[in-house]
Amino acid sequence: MKNFWRILAGIAILILLWQLAALGLNRSILIPAPSETLLILFHNFTTPDMLLAAGQTLWKVLLALALAILLGLPLGLLLGLSDAAYNLLRPLVMVVQAVPVISWLSLVIFTWGIGWRGPVFISFLSLFPVAVLTTVAGVHDLDKDLLEMAKLYQVPWKKVVREIHLGSLLPFIAAILDVSIGQAWKVTLVSEYLCGGDGLGEAILTARMNVDIPSVWALTLGAVLLGLLSEALIKFVLRRFRHAWKHS
């Protein structure tokens, strides 16, 4: 409860500083006042158009995240278990990780034009190396002594995978989701802004082109809130899953 009030106080201080900066500058084209922004935010997110845009961004985020996990996890397992595969494919993963989002842009636009595929692909590429390398770290973290014990007691391999491998990897999978969800929002918004046909990123672009800076702020705030909400939701689901698994 104490923490809750502290967080609330932190948010209040943030809004106060924002208000002071807006008052001091007195130019809403640079920093609109929080009251103005919140009003627009409330107005925007009660219109069907904005809700649709938020939904369009959300499904891209979820799709990119799902792809990164579904492809990154098996590849991470392979790279973790086989030194040969690790040495062979690590440069590729490192390059994908190092290439800036902007560099994929021309490739994406020439391949698919403006549309949903670009943001999903770019988001996926930014999440994929994290998923792979974190899974590799998880596999390397496996306690060899536990595997030796299981071998000695002739425990069936399916049970060993479920109890020892999965148990050891779960915290790493949780870490991937934890780190990725925030990243997925940011990258998806930027790519929607640059090459997406719809979504909140595209809405921010339109607001900017209309020099409607308070709307840019309101949309950004909306995206931040949605990002935090989805992060909290994923954490909640993960906690429940780990609890259920622990008592299975």
């Binding site: 002594d145 536990l146 030796e148 014990m149 299981a150 071998k151 000695l152 007691y153 002739q154 425990v155 049970k159 109890e163 020892i164 148990g167 779960l170 622990k246």
Partner: protein, 233 residues
């Protein structure tokens, strides 16, 4: 003689380091053997080879045991599973309550290993071996982290288990008391590279009290033998 476990001219080297030299060892079903030797002699390596976790450089191992159980030096419990589930992991059909009772841990079935002391974890390690009802139980310095009181009670408990249902026991130790109390036969190992120096008689068939004059006499004889023939650290 029917054998449960037999090694023939077993040798093991790690690169230049020779660890085991010509180990010839045989254990009959239901026989209890102690390997007594100085720390760092290569006893754990020998056990790992016997359990099939290491391969020998030369020589052979025949292990006819259907169910091997191994009490490692360190507990090796699954950290995210309760004590009970750690036991059921190796034998889902086993009587975990009975196994925990015999190591005086019956009240801790639902505890995670992290909430137990080192000695308690080691007792769970022993219970996990007992729940499999092994034909061959291998103990690698299993009692060395325990205080004397619990150590004595656990050795008694192990002895009782054996009386009810004799299994092959191979215990590695550097403690003469442990060897004398647990084993019918004691195999003395030299310092590295470990080779067999001598085989001597262990516990007699009758009641064997650790505080009896007979036991103490045998223990001091054994200590003298060890200090003369091998270097104890």
């Amino acid at each position: 003689m029917e054998t449960l476990l037999k090694t023939t001219n077993l040798c093991k080297s790690f690169d230049e380091l020779e660890v085991l030299r010509d180990i010839n060892l045989a254990i009959a079903p239901g026989e209890r053997v102690a390997l007594l030797g100085p720390s760092g002699a290569g006893k754990t390596t020998l056990l790992k080879i016997l359990a099939g976790l290491e391969t020998p450089t030369s020589g052979t191992v025949e292990n006819h045991a259907q169910r091997n159980a191994f009490v490692f030096q360190e507990p090796r419990l699954i950290p995210w599973r309760s004590v009970k589930n750690n036991l059921l992991f190796v034998n889902p059909a086993g009587d975990y309550k009975e196994a925990l009772r015999s190591v005086e841990m019956a009240d801790f079935a639902d505890y995670p290993p992290a909430d137990l002391s080192g000695g308690m974890r080691q007792r769970v390690n022993l219970a996990r071996a007992l729940i499999t009802q092994p034909d061959l139980l291998i103990l690698d310095e299993a009692f060395h982290s325990l205080d004397l009181g619990i150590k004595m009670r656990l050795m008694e408990s192990l002895n009782q288990h054996w009386q009810e249902n004799p299994f092959g026991l191979l215990c590695v130790t550097h403690d003469p008391k442990e060897a004398l109390y647990l084993a019918d036969r004691i195999v003395l190992l030299s310092a590295r590279p470990a080779s067999i120096l001598a085989e001597i008689e262990g516990r007699p068939d009758q009641q064997w009290e650790i505080t009896s004059p007979d036991f103490l006499t045998r223990e001091s004889e054994l200590i003298q033998l060890l200090s003369g023939k091998t270097q104890l650290d």
